[in-house]
């Protein structure tokens, strides 16, 4: 069994979320947990880890930001094109263990993508969880992701969205978006840490600030789960690039409980 060998899958749907972000649905049927990722490769371009942003046995949805070689090349594809994938890999969010809790789902920018996997999971297992709060922050109105899904989220859950900066003419009203950094907006809210777990994903600066805020609101490190990003080559727990203080992000992560990481920020 050679785990390095990818399989070819078809792109079923391709659509833009924002100028530098798109979603694709691929014909890849596999069991997975929310928060896991797959390795996507394009011959001659390279391979990149991409988080799964859906929860379904029939197909898989990926949300991709065009930031490197592979993602930029992916962005030029269309429906019917083929890509190479292997996976899923890693440990996702421990949804089973956290049954009965309130969920606080906090995401920034393309960090919302893996969190969408959780929302899809919760949709299918709504009775297992109590209150669900979604706090999403984006750079600007043009960077807002998952416009297709947001109206439904707004109906079902407590959704708060903010954009760092707004310009005149920006349509903030549609999702009742607020302006300012997500952390500043969250400060104003009454967040109860009791019987609650927080799921985080986003840029490192934002994550650190929000964790500081959650701590102020009475959260313990054990109540905070976040998805980490590192360079990955093999995703099989060998190549060593994704190591965070001895832990492989590809095997022991990408989702970590905050107490596993908090002392090793530079590692």
């Amino acid at each position: 069994m050679n785990d390095y060998i990818p399989q070819k899958v078809k792109i079923l749907e391709f659509y833009r979320e924002s100028p530098d972000n798109f979603s694709i649905v691929i014909d890849f049927k596999t069991d997975h947990e929310p928060g896991q990722f797959i390795q996507v490769s394009l011959p001659g371009i390279g391979e990149a880890p991409i988080s799964i942003c859906s929860y379904s046995k029939d197909h898989m949805k990926l949300n991709v930001r065009e930031i490197g070689s592979v993602t930029n090349s992916l962005g030029k594809l269309k429906e019917g094109d083929e890509i190479w994938v292997r996976g899923p890999y890693g440990k996702g969010y421990p949804m089973q263990e956290l049954k009965g809790n309130n969920l606080l789902i906090i995401g920034g920018g393309c960090g919302v993508a893996p969190l969408k996997g959780i929302i899809d999971y919760v949709d299918q297992n709504r009775e297992d969880y109590q209150n669900i709060d979604l706090f999403f922050g984006y750079r600007s109105v043009h960077d807002v992701l998952f416009r297709r899904e947001t109206p439904e989220w707004k109906n079902k859950y407590n959704l708060m969205m903010s954009v760092d900066k707004a310009e005149e003419g920006d349509d903030l009203a549609c999702f009742e978006m607020k302006t300012g950094y997500l952390m500043e907006r969250m400060k104003e809210l009454d967040i109860n840490s009791e019987n609650t777990v927080a799921f985080l994903c986003g840029p490192p600066i934002m994550i650190n600030k929000i964790i500081g805020l959650l701590k102020e609101k009475g959260f313990k490190s054990e109540q905070i789960f976040l998805s980490a990003e590192r360079l990955m080559q093999c995703a099989l727990g060998m190549c060593g690039h994704c190591m965070i203080h001895g832990k492989y992000t590809c095997l022991d992560g990408p989702v970590f409980r905050w107490d596993e990481l908090e002392n090793f920020k530079n590692d």
């Binding site: 390095y4 001659g44 993602t71 360079l231 080559q233 099989l236 060998m238 190549c239 060593g240 001895g246």
Partner: protein, 326 residues
């Protein structure tokens, strides 16, 4: 059961092996490294080689797969040739055992395993093994071998470590004699001048002053990674061919360099040299042990011996440990 072989027979034994298989052993050429032997005389047992034998398992530029005409083609691993590695010191043998563990963590690496399966390992013991940079006695040295040779006044004593080794002895039984000698602890001793007091270094992780004192001499050239027998971190590169196919190849990576932790969007997780330096030392001494119960480092001292500025982290760690105890 221990066997004995006279020096004369030993040379005959090697020559007969060379006839049948590729034999790689320390050779003192332009630089001491494991080279393919043409005759028994070329074998130079007296040096701890500058280059390790890791390229025989983790081949630089290993072909992982080929994208050809829309399909993926796996390389034919059965083409890999059998070979014998001769004259492996304890540190080099131990590093192979550690790679066995690392490359078969949760998933198995078929390329490494195939190469590993096809190599026969002959260990070689030398009491005065290396120089002032060796500290193998301070770390975990668990080894697997097929045959192990101990040099005596006029013969070698041979220990057998596997069925493969047994078969080799049987095939050459006219050259080996059975010996009733009992190997003692002293026979297996190796003299070290350098000693690492403890490889439990979790408590000095935050000693910034101590680590900075080491890192100020670091040129960030990555030679320590390249020469280390255990450094196994690797990366892939897609190599396009003129015929339109693309080969995915594997190369070793160096954690002392910026590119090791650079992700798309040019964020670098270990930006400061001190974080990279600590990562190497902690991976070698702490992380691997936390995961698999033994240090990754085998104490060969190559990373100090061949460092352009001879950064002696062993002595410094001892100092820092003493400081921490106070």
């Amino acid at each position: 059961m221990v066997y004995a072989i006279s020096f004369e027979n030993y040379n005959k034994f090697l020559d007969s092996l060379i006839q049948k298989t590729d034999v790689f052993a320390p050779v003192k050429g332009k630089v001491s490294s494991f080279e393919k032997l043409k005759s028994a005389e070329e074998f130079n047992a007296d040096v701890l080689t500058e280059y390790t034998a890791k390229n025989n398992f983790l081949k630089q530029g290993e072909l992982i797969l080929t994208h050809k005409e829309g399909e993926v083609v796996e390389p034919d691993l059965s083409k890999i040739k059998e070979k014998i590695l001769l004259g492996l010191r304890m540190c080099d043998l131990a590093s192979i055992k550690k790679h066995d563990i690392a490359m078969n963590n949760k998933y198995a690496d078929p390329y490494y395993n195939e190469r590993r399966k096809k190599v026969t390992l002959f260990g070689y013991h030398q009491k005065q093994c290396g120089d002032e940079y060796c500290f193998c006695q301070s770390v975990d040295l668990e080894v697997e071998y097929d045959l192990f040779f101990y040099k005596r006044a006029d013969h070698y004593l041979v220990e057998v470590g596997s069925d493969k080794g047994k078969t080799i002895i049987k095939d050459n039984q006219d050259l080996f004699e059975e010996s009733d000698y009992k190997m003692t602890k002293e026979d297996k001793e190796i003299d070290n001048q350098l000693k690492l007091d403890s490889h439990d270094i979790d408590d000095i992780y935050t000693n910034n002053r101590g680590w900075s004192a080491l890192v100020k001499d670091c040129l960030a050239c990555g030679q320590c990674n390249a020469l280390c027998p255990t450094c196994f971190c690797f990366e892939f590169r897609d190599v396009p061919k003129q015929d339109g196919s693309v080969e995915k190849k594997r190369f070793l990576s160096e954690c002392q360099l910026e590119c090791f932790s650079r992700v798309a969007g040019d964020h670098i997780f270990r930006k400061a040299q001190i974080d990279r330096f600590k990562h190497r030392i902690y991976h070698q001494l702490q992380y691997f042990k936390d995961k698999f119960g033994k240090t990754l480092c085998t104490g060969c001292g190559r990373c100090i011996r061949h460092c352009p500025t001879k950064i002696d982290f062993v002595t410094k760690i001892n100092e820092m440990k003493k400081e921490a105890k106070k």
